[in-house]
Amino acid sequence: MKIRGPILTLGAVAVLGVAILLVNISKEESPPPPGKPAAQTTTAVAPTTAPAPPPAPATPPPPAFPAKADYVGKIPTANGTITLEITVDGDKAIAYACDGNTVESWLRGSAVNGTVSLANKDKTSRLEGRLQGSAIVGTLSIGEKNWDFNAPIAQPPAGLYVYENAGVRNSWIVDSDGGVTGVQRREDGSTTPAPKLTTDGIADIDGIEVRAIRVEGDSNV
């Protein structure tokens, strides 16, 4: 006499939910290779081994950033790897993302309560992230595209470096393995791979040896 349809629906929903959950857990148990890509060269067009999804952080997220910290993450995309660096200083943050070739974006904004909310000047790029363990996780969007990212904390010399002269801006990210990814932007807005940067921050730009400036969260880049 009782109506069985709703119970079947409820059961089907439960079975589907548990099934997807089990698939997830089964993927979790085969741990991804630890994200230790070989040192990057300045031309990062060739996609390096994608750092697989992060393992579960061991500690619950503390709600505040360190006073000063750098975070570097790699985002594998269809057209190569985008390297992302976020520099937090007090309640401000600056982020730079580039593919070491022609794509780059500078973003700035706030870093409060363990979340960063950044945008570039014309608001075509955005970054929303939050502290998870000692890494920042979130979403980066450049133009029409957006990607999820995970950027673990990085110690100097890893960080963000810039050298600007005569309207030509060179920006580099040094990652935790000492790999360097950078983009040079000329006065006319065209972008090319940046010249090589040594780990002590020296670059050879058009035959002149220069020292790149390390970017801090409250720098005015």
Partner: protein, 186 residues
């Protein structure tokens, strides 16, 4: 047959128990999901659908699909109760649109709970977390209520309306936010 008033009383108390059980189980589901979401360490990944840029994009589209079928639910419910002119198969439409809505909503919920968890770091996120757990609780309660006979006439429309309202709020705090933030993207 002898005393219609007595029969009615018994029926009423019976349906009262059924309502209590249904609502109680719904509450267990809602609280259980919330506790899982809070305790489980977010993994930030979940099985995804090919062709989308991110898990969040997939979810936004699935949620939008669910919301579309929820609108069908609302209209077909009005038809079933004779508030709108409708075909004879309105109840079938209601049943199946509901099932499809749930089919697409479940992967979204699993991704939410597994990859992101119950979070409170922002008003939107807090509301979404609370409503998401509540939604599956109300849904469970409604499915169980459907089995009971002699419910007060206002009960199912009320619970159904609640399911619809909560789903709408869930969509507003997630998919709409996503589309507004990142553009209507796949």
């Amino acid at each position: 047959m002898s005393d219609p008033a007595a029969t009615e009383r018994i029926a009423t108390s019976k349906s009262g128990v059924a309502v209590l059980i249904a609502v109680g189980l719904g509450a267990v589901v809602a609280v259980g999901l919330g506790v899982f979401g809070k305790i489980h360490e977010p993994q930030f990944f979940s099985v995804s659908v090919a062709g989308f840029s991110s898990g969040t994009a997939v979810k936004s589209w699935l949620a939008t699909t669910a919301f579309f079928f929820a609108l069908v639910q609302l209209v077909s419910a009005f038809m079933m109760y004779g508030k709108l002119p409708g075909p004879r198969w309105a109840s079938k439409l209601h049943r199946w649109s509901g099932r499809i809505a749930f089919l697409v909503a479940v992967p979204v919920a699993v991704h939410c709970l597994y990859a992101l968890g119950f979070q409170t770091y922002e008003t939107r996120v807090l509301w979404h977390s609370v409503l998401g757990c509540f939604f599956f609780g109300v849904f469970s309660a409604k499915m169980l209520l459907l089995r009971s006979e002699r419910l007060p006439g206002w009960l199912l429309p009320l619970v159904g309306g609640l399911v619809f309202t909560v789903l709408t709020l869930l969509w507003l705090t997630s998919a709409l936010w996503f589309f507004r933030t990142f553009g209507v993207t796949t």
